[in-house]
Symmetry: C2
Subunit: 132 residues, 2 copies
């Protein structure tokens, strides 16, 4: 399962990477490094988690995002496609949103010559409650 996903991206298959990917998938929400370290089955050094995630993010398997809380969050975006978030800069509340401009990517690839692998898109503002 996760083995297949990792191999298909041309990455070397390691137990740690499988473990991290499965952890993100099962939890169905953005996790930070400490969360991952606790939830993972294998004992794993923090630097290994950072380095493994870098590979998974660059390949497009994992979405890395910055909610401006001082730590990075990571989320598995599987079969059902990816999504982005809207975050309140005051109370830090966040919701998923379903808008994205990935439809424009093919023409952008043509224009720039890049092969696009992933992107980050997050919206910040004030939520209904904090506006009052």
């Amino acid at each position: 399962m996760y083995e297949k996903i990792i191999k298909e991206k041309g990455l070397s298959l390691t137990k740690k990477r499988v473990d991290i990917l499965r952890t993100l998938d099962i939890n169905k929400k953005p996790l930070m490094i400490d969360d991952i370290k606790k939830k993972v089955k294998t004992k794993m050094d923090t630097s290994t988690i950072y380095r493994s995630l870098k590979v998974l993010v660059d390949s497009g398997l994992v979405y890395q995002t910055d909610f401006r809380e001082g730590v990075s969050y990571f989320e598995f975006h599987g079969e059902n496609g990816h999504h982005h978030h809207i975050i309140c800069t005051t109370c830090k509340k966040r919701e998923s949103i379903d808008i994205c401009m990935d439809k424009a990517f093919p023409s952008l690839e043509k224009k720039t010559g890049y092969k696009i692998t992933n992107h980050i898109f997050e919206i910040f503002g004030l939520c209904k409650t904090c506006l009052k």
Copy 2:
């Protein structure tokens, strides 16, 4: 000038904030904390730069972005509107792009109840050279 811009956002006006904003504006490209610390006219503690930028970013005056180089970059997006980037994950080269979906924000504000102040959008991939 920068005084006016800062006041209009309802932020308190300090010499450091003006200094940082002017530095970003003059340089016309993303700067990292160390760049800013060197280029700024006033001697300024690093933590002050971080904290000042946080305020400027949340207000929407400054664009904070992550090129995945291990440091944050900051760029002033003034009158002429903002822009985003496409970054090569291999050689770290980056270019400005002119696509954005901020036209969709009014309906998103209506749907979510948020007052949107800013957003981050960055595209990653492999450049023409690194694809070979």
